[in-house]
């Protein structure tokens, strides 16, 4: 459960067949339906931030000497791999667990 501005109030007394309401955040994340994941080769990454600038979901996070995608959010679009001037990012097919 992630952070929510306020504690959810108790909705258990409200019949669940009136107006649809939700009092907790959905656990569904954009990273849940990715087909390919970006894998960063840390030896090639020069931390130029091109991937960080171009990521449509803004999921690139900064590490000490490289950048990488937050896989909870990353949809696997591959734009970072395409734009990387040092070819440091490779898209790898997600395997079923």
């Amino acid at each position: 459960m992630r952070k929510q501005a306020k504690k959810p109030f108790d909705a258990s007394a409200i019949p669940d067949n009136l107006c649809p309401i939700a009092t907790t955040l959905s656990e569904l994340r954009t990273g849940d339906w990715r087909a390919e994941r970006p894998v960063v080769d840390r030896r090639r990454c020069v931390k130029c931030a091109t991937c960080w600038v171009n990521c449509p979901t803004q999921c690139i996070t900064e590490k000490k000497t490289w950048f990488e995608a937050n896989l909870e959010i990353c949809k696997g679009c591959g734009i970072c791999a395409h734009e990387c001037p040092h070819r440091a990012i490779t898209m790898v097919v997600e395997e079923e667990d």
Binding site: Q4, A5, K6, P8, F9, A11, I14, P15, D16, N17, L18, C19, P20, I21, A22, T23, S26
Partner: protein, 401 residues
Amino acid sequence: MPKAIVCDGNEAAAWGVSRARVDMVAVYPITPQSSLAEYVSQFVADGIIEADLMDVEGEHSVLSVLQGACLAGARTFTASCGQGLAFMFEPYYRTPPLRLPIVMSIVNRDGITPQSVWGGQQDAMTVKEVGWIQLYCETVQEIMDTVIMAYRIAEDHGVMLPVNVCHDGNYLSYGVEEAVIPDQDQVDLFLGEKNTNWHAALDPERPMAVDPLTGGSGSPGPAMFTRYRMGLCQGMQNALKVIPEVHREWGDRFGRYYSPLVEEYRLNDAETAVVTIGSMTGAAKDAVDMAREAGQRVGLIKVKTFRPLPVAALRQALSKVKAVAVVDRSVSFGCNCGPVYHDILSVLYRLEERVPAISVIGGLAGADITEKHFLKVIESLASAQHSGDFPQQPMWLNEHE
């Protein structure tokens, strides 16, 4: 003391709104509802209605604004008809499943094209299947009283549905009668505490998402969506119990009793009956009286609550006669008959004995349905019953006028 005034149906509706102590009104003028919009606006300006009045750019915004207001806890009112109702349809269609107890007068107007600005029930009949409760009034006093009662029905916790109080354009909107304005303190006791958003709210103290995504093919989507659909049907069925209770309590407190679902007039020893809805009923009752004097055993069944369809009450009334003629002020183009007739057929199917029916269509676009028309209907019904030859086509009352 209750105050008696002389007013038309549109003003009567505005007085009902004032007594219901609504918090927000949004309304966009359209003939023949316009003077109702003007009365409500004037009453707000004069402090007779202590509500916020939203002037918005069209009917789609009118109902959208009221949805937000209702979710924020307000008692709300609007009125529309005809093309205005058509433009309102997107939020209109969504209001019942949101379970918002909004009250809206429909000042019934015929549909265009052909161009017309006059009464007819084509507007309300076209939107009858989406989950609004529809109550049809017969008199000016009944409009005022029904607008107030509509809030009790809509806000009942077992119902929680929007209500259309329908009154015929021209004949009731501009028809003038004496009407009694009930005392405010008595109406306050009758309506009780308002609580329009206990189930779904825009309220920082109760953070929630209203109407998040449900449905789809993966579990639990289908179960959730089906549960809400069944809930709406249950709310409509609950209304069939609540509407008579509210009318009875109204009668006990204010002395004016109305048949809440279906009115039976001179029906107990009748062979045949005319089925009516709305303002045409007065002329129809006169015609029934005249036919009775001439020795014909005819009665009348008036539908007040059309949605939800009061199947049990209609079944009881229809089982007393051997044939009926159903008079509509609108057309079901898809079924080549009147829409009320079409629903009456569905009730007749549930009777033990077969009761044949004739569809009669009249009073379109402001045309008058007089006693003479109803006498003609009664005569046609009697001769069809005598010969056993019931017309398969509708009988169009104003065809040659």
